[in-house]
């Protein structure tokens, strides 16, 4: 756009002209702002006539009015007047007619105003379908602050409300009814919500979110009549359905307010709207139309950004510029009922040859689809997409559609869960428009934070960039990208924040978990090749091993995973300070028969192992040389023992008190339940170790609230607590649900554990995980107990798969020579014990001798026990 400021009419001459603007809404206001900024008031007096009693306000954010302290918070012109005295704003006044011949407008206060140029910015009005009963008290539309006041008043005496229309605005209105405490219904004629923007699957994900918030959704439902005599009592649906409600909000689309133009004989579009050309000029050259009342080329746009562009174009036209409006991006991003929804470009993949890439994470309630086509250089380009549940990528994706740049090799990375520096990796070109509402490019944001000649930053942070460039100040959807661009800029100057796992993956555990789920990777090499770099390390390899185990439950020492395992998993035992191992057979719930107890004693005696009772109610056998482990386990497995997984980031024990069977206070069978739970979840690999406890009464002898999951018996059933642990940062488990029967308890536990396994970070214990979840324990309860995301069945199925594929790791190892091959002291001398391992005796049992210098194999045997100091060693058993 060339900027021309005519100076031919200096102020004060008789040639000043008059510009009349009808409508002081979002677009009308933007028009006046631009007119003032670009010098149009040097030559024109501007008269603005607005029907509403207040100056323009942010209609896009209308719903936030309920939370706002006053209408002023939404105002776009809080002072009520423009600083430029040549603008005359007349509010609470309606234009009743336009005389295009005389070039005058008539106002409802009886005055007339002559114009040289007229700009119609009258917006649109809600469409109310002609159903019987639509005029009954209790029927509303959702467009102005006054509408909202009326709805709020009516809601005070209503218990339920229904919104007719499940599109974008209908869902906003439903949100408002929920906020007002009404039982809320949405009735949509199409088979899904937001039919214009979303595809089937996206619509389904949205329904799940919306229903999770307590809204009842009726899709494929036509409204036959509004019921009621004096006031609304409900809705009759085609096919006989009925919805009870005392309040009805119509949100079945909008119609351009083009009546003034029609009456004045101006051309209107077939489907409504003042027909205008590329300069937004109507069939009368002195009359322009902008915003929702206009139909450039016959098309009306129900969004604010195209209206803003039209406003700029008309200012340009009046300055004799050459700007044109040639159509707009109808991409949308909104937060509906707290759910992010976005749809952009060719969302329905109608372009020939288009491919769809879909990422769906039912746990998080996220659905993302990219529509991809061939680019001219043979690569891929983005055509459009749909995002539900997480639209953070929108700001990056939408400009990729319009700039047509070739996509990176892994386009699916674009929709995998957001990570730090996404904007940086995606390399948007400087000319890409980041903020489409205000037409701000990446380059402009970059220069706002760049150093100026004096070595100072124009802007240091997001809020400054927002006010300087206007980027992100309208709908806000591009704010994350703007933030990324700013961060990227500062990072380039040496401030780097990396949330990645290690130098090989700039991804978190959860992101890796999702990648494995989407692609089905089963080998570390494939994963690091596609999404990382280098050959891995002691941090990422065990994480990947754990993720593979959680999803596929293969053997820890399987061909693809054995090289990845951490110290203890690598030998299925716990390494001790002298390089020997401890052995812990599973003793579910701490219950053991005398025969089995004797076997443990015999094994300990025969292999000369140090024996100790653990805190988890089992027995730890210390001092086993690595090459002895298979023989020890042969004996244990033959006697019916299995691995206790004391070495894994996995379920350890479910501790129990003796319970109602023996205890005179007990109210439930805590031992029976503890055994059942321990057997159910044994072998489940998780981000951190997991412990459980079951107490048979409120005395809590099993210390269940110090466990990741704790169950305490009540008279009526069980109370379930989650998120506890001992250790360095003890945490008390918190009540998740009370008085459960055993079946429900197990169902909740299945869901809880799987939810944790899927979404927690590396080495994040349940307590820390619950704490960092958005919403904390309430969020866990929403997913696990209330099943708000509708994921319960899926999480339970994942647990059932785990249980079905469980095999004792030690038994499987003993049966497989390949797995046993590792258990030798020296490859070239398998029968020779490591000479550096030595023991002494203390209180009748062995203890390690640790060489006191660093000279390799030194130390040797110390035949006599030497008491160096009376210290009590404290050590953590992994």
């Amino acid at each position: 756009m060339t900027e021309r400021i005519p100076r031919t009419d200096p102020r004060g001459t008789h040639q000043r002209r008059t510009l009349v603007v009808v409508g002081h809404g979002m677009v009308g206001h933007r028009f006046v702002q631009a007119a003032v900024e670009r010098g149009l008031t040097e030559t024109h007096d501007v008269v603005v006539v607005g029907e509403e009693c207040r100056p323009a306000y942010d209609r896009v954010a209308l719903t936030s009015y309920f939370a706002a302290s006053s209408a002023d918070e939404l105002s776009l012109l809080p002072s009520g007047r423009y600083d430029d005295p040549r603008v005359d704003l007349r509010l609470g006044t309606r234009v009743t007619g336009v005389d295009a011949e005389d070039r005058t407008v008539a106002l409802d206060d009886g005055t007339q105003v002559r114009y040289d140029a007229l700009v119609l910015a009258t917006g649109a009005a809600p469409f109310v379908p002609p159903v019987p009963g639509r005029d009954l008290p209790g029927c509303f539309v959702y467009r102005t602050i006054e509408d909202l006041d009326a709805i709020r008043d009516a809601a005070a005496t209503a218990t339920s409300g229904v919104v007719i229309g499940g599109g974008l605005l209908g869902l906003e209105a439903a949100n408002a009814l929920v906020q007002l405490g009404l039982e809320t219904h949405v009735v949509e004629m199409a088979p899904r919500l937001m039919p214009v923007q979303l595809d089937e699957a996206g619509g389904r994900t949205l329904v799940r979110h919306v229903e999770g918030l307590g809204v009842t959704v009726h899709t494929g439902a036509a409204t036959e009549a509004v019921l009621g005599e004096e006031a609304v009592t409900g809705l009759a649906l085609a096919g006989g359905g009925r919805v009870e409600a005392q309040l009805v909000v119509f949100s079945a689309g909008i119609r351009p307010r083009d009546q003034l133009a029609r009456d004045a004989g101006l051309a209107v579009a077939e489907r409504g709207g003042v027909l205008v050309d590329e300069q937004c000029r109507s069939s009368d050259p002195h009359v322009f139309a902008i915003g929702e009342c206009a139909a450039p080329g016959g098309v009306m746009y129900g969004l604010v950004a195209p209206g803003y562009s039209m406003a700029e174009v008309v200012v340009d036209a009046l300055l004799e510029g050459a700007g044109t409006f040639t159509g707009a991006d109808m991409s949308t991003k909104l937060k509906l009922l707290g759910v992010d929804v976005a749809s952009f470009g060719d969302a329905f993949a109608t372009t020939p040859g288009a491919l769809e890439l879909v990422f769906a994470d039912a746990v998080a309630g996220v659905y993302k689809k990219l529509v991809v086509g061939r680019a001219e250089d043979g690569g891929h380009r983005l055509l459009g997409g749909v995002l539900v549940g997480d639209a953070s990528a929108y700001g990056v994706l939408r400009p990729m559609v319009s700039s047509g740049i070739t996509l990176p090799d892994n386009p699916e990375e674009l929709i995998l869960p957001a990570r730090s520096g996404a904007g940086a990796q995606l390399g948007l070109p400087d000319e890409a428009v980041v903020c489409s509402c205000n037409n701000v490019t990446k380059g402009e944001i970059g220069s706002a934070v760049a150093l100026d000649e004096d070595g100072a930053h124009a802007c240091q942070d997001l809020s400054c960039v927002k006010s300087c460039t206007r980027a992100g100040s309208t709908c806000g959807s591009c704010v994350p990208v703007v933030k990324n661009i700013i961060e990227e800029h500062f990072a380039a100057q040496g401030r780097v924040v990396d949330k990645g796992l290690c130098e090989h993956f700039s991804l978190t555990r959860q992101e890796l978990f999702d990648l494995v789920a989407v692609h089905g990777y089963r080998r570390f090499d494939d994963l690091v090749e596609a999404h990382g770099r280098g050959r891995g390390c002691e941090v990422c390899k065990p994480v990947v091993a754990s993720i593979l185990a959680s999803q596929f439950n293969g053997h820890v020492l399987g061909a693809e995973t054995k090289a990845l395992q951490d110290t203890n998993d690598a030998y299925l035992a716990n390494i001790q300070r002298n390089g020997t191992y401890s052995v812990v057979p599973r003793i579910p719930g701490g219950e053991i028969t005398p025969e089995k107890l004797i076997v443990i004693g015999e094994v300990a005696r025969d292999f000369n192992l140090y024996t100790k009772i653990t805190g988890g109610q089992r027995i730890d056998l210390f001092g086993a040389r690595m090459e002895e482990l298979p023989q020890i386990w042969r004996r244990l497995v033959d006697a019916g023992f299995e691995s206790g997984h004391a070495y894994g980031k996995s379920l350890r024990t479910v501790k129990s008190c003796v319970g109602s069977t023996w205890c005179r206070y007990g109210v439930q069978d805590s031992v029976g339940l503890a055994i059942a739970l321990e057997l159910r979840y044994r072998g489940l690999r998780s981000p951190h170790k997991l412990k459980g406890g079951v107490s048979g009464c409120a005395r809590e002898c099993a210390e269940a609230r110090g466990k990741d999951f704790g169950v305490i018996a009540t008279e009526k059933g069980w109370n379930l607590y989650v998120g506890g642990n001992g250790g360095a940062n003890p945490a008390h488990a918190q009540l998740l649900a009370g008085d459960l029967d055993t079946e429900t308890l197990v169902r909740y536990l299945d869901r809880f554990l799987m939810y944790y396994v899927r979404t927690a970070d590396r080495l994040q214990r349940t307590s820390a995980w619950v704490e960092q979840l958005d919403g904390g324990l309430d969020r866990v309860r929403a997913v696990v107990v209330d099943d708000e995301l509708g994921l319960g069945a899926e999480l339970e199925a994942a647990m059932v798969r785990h249980i079905g594929s469980y095999r004792d790791e030690w038994q499987a190892t003993l049966e497989d020579p390949d797995k046993l091959a590792r258990f030798v002291s020296f490859v070239n001398a398998p029968g020779t014990p490591d000479p550096s391992i030595a023991f002494t005796t203390e209180r009748g049992q062995i203890q390690p001798v640790v060489p006191d210098d660093g000279s390799g194999a030194g130390g040797g045997r110390t035949p006599e026990p030497v008491l160096v100091a009376a210290t009590i060693g404290v050590r953590e058993q992994a």
């Binding site: 130098e503 090989h504 280098g534 050959r535 891995g536 390390c537 002691e538 390899k541 065990p542 054995k562 090289a563 990845l564 395992q565 951490d566 110290t567 690598a570 030998y571 390494i575 300070r577 002298n578 390089g579 690595m626 590792r822 030798v824 002291s825 020296f826 490859v827 070239n828 001398a829 020779t832 490591d834 000479p835 550096s836 391992i837 640790v850 060489p851 660093g854 390799g856 194999a857 130390g859």
Partner: protein, 120 residues
Amino acid sequence: MTPPVGQEWEPVCRLEDLEVERGAAALVHGQAVALFRTHDDRVYALANHDPFSRASVLARGIVGTRGEVDFVASPMHKHAFDLRTGRCLDDDHVSVASYEVRIESGVVQVGSRQERRASA
């Protein structure tokens, strides 16, 4: 890679006996040595003794890369040692002995202790 005087090449095992990107302990010249086979089938030998924990365990650590350097993380406290030189990547003052290795007709042979430039 000529062996220095007085040191023999000792055949230890076949290359296939070693797991890829994992270690194995061997007794060489009477010492516990940790052998590591990297993804590109090179083999390195370090003393098996972890100077931090004073246990003979390095062969049981995870093998990986830091930047361009192949290393093993001790299974005890995860100190990293450069497979080529035995230098500890987390502490400049610490290193373990490293040994010459060659592969002849698929057999891994370990030679003498490597000279280190910076060693005392």
